[in-house]
Amino acid sequence: MPQQFLIVNQKKPKMTKSLAQKKQALEVLIEQSILIDVDRKDELIAKISQMDEEAVDALGKFLALEVKTAKKFYHDNLGKLDSLDTKTN
């Protein structure tokens, strides 16, 4: 039936974040980043308000990737480092 077909193929609506939400999230990511110099963080956070959506998205995606990569790295290596530290004590 045509109606059923429509229901099955209906995509879930995209959850779009407002620019304000993105800017707030970007501030959090800048705070935790190890790629950005500590001395430059405040300056960068202050500039967020002047950034357009494209710039916010670009920096946000980059810093989100940092979080993802770091999570994997720590998952793979922190245990090894811990056991090595235990051995040397």
Binding site: K12, K14, M15, T16, K17, Q21, K22, Q24, A25, L26, V28, L29, Q32, I34, L35, D57, G60, K61, L63, A64, E66, V67, K68, T69, A70, K71, K72, F73, Y74, D76, N77, L78, K80, L81, D82, L84, D85, K87, T88
Partner: protein, 197 residues
């Protein structure tokens, strides 16, 4: 070329040097050599140094950006330098087994003591030069650079351990931060996969 042709028997020559560090760390360099044409060399440095190097190498390969924060920390930086120094010295000690070429490398390493590229900064010039005398007596076969290597590793071991602890502290703190709900939620905003829910 057979052993008979080269005049070398399948005799195994073994040199083993052990030194007990101040804080109960046993440092061991074991070098085995079997004939000039079939040299089997094994060097076992402190396991923690080897393991730390492996981790640092993986770190470089998998996430070079993490170097930045580690290099910024004085203790970790000194530890990395000490680890790199230990590896270079072990490499030179292996090369020192080969007469003439190895001796030249060992002599260059000693000559570097008078420059800013000193690989054994905590070993005196007298010991470095004196060990070359032993080299001459052995006809260039003794890997005398191993003496300086052991003394330097013995000196560097506490620094390497300190750097290890500091690295652990930095990694643990950062892992805790990125695993927090606040950061995870912020990252999800920019993660294209989690946007469509």
């Amino acid at each position: 070329m057979t052993d008979q042709e080269t005049g070398h028997n399948d005799e195994t020559q073994e040199i083993r040097i052990k030194s007990a560090g101040h804080d109960d760390i046993t440092q061991e360099i074991e070098i085995k050599s079997r004939g000039h044409n079939d040299i089997t060399q094994e060097i076992n440095i402190q396991p923690e140094v080897a393991e730390l190097t492996k981790i640092f190498t993986e770190l470089g390969a998998s996430n070079e950006l993490l170097w930045k924060v580690m290099w910024a920390d004085k203790d970790v930086r000194e530890s990395l330098k000490a680890t790199a120094r230990a590896l270079l010295n072990v490499g030179i000690s292996i090369a020192d087994f080969v007469p003439v070429i190895g001796d030249a490398i060992s002599l260059l390493a000693d000559a570097a003591k008078w420059t800013q590229f000193d690989l054994t900064p905590n070993v005196s010039k007298e010991i470095a030069v004196g060990s070359e005398g032993l080299e001459l007596l052995s006809g260039g076969f003794l890997p005398t650079h191993a003496i300086e290597t052991i003394l330097q590793i013995r000196h560097d071991a506490p620094q390497i351990k300190k750097g290890l602890k500091r690295t652990k502290k930095i990694w643990t703190a950062h892992e805790k931060a990125i695993k927090s709900k606040r950061v995870a939620d912020a990252a999800a905003v920019f993660d294209s996969k989690s946007k469509e829910t």
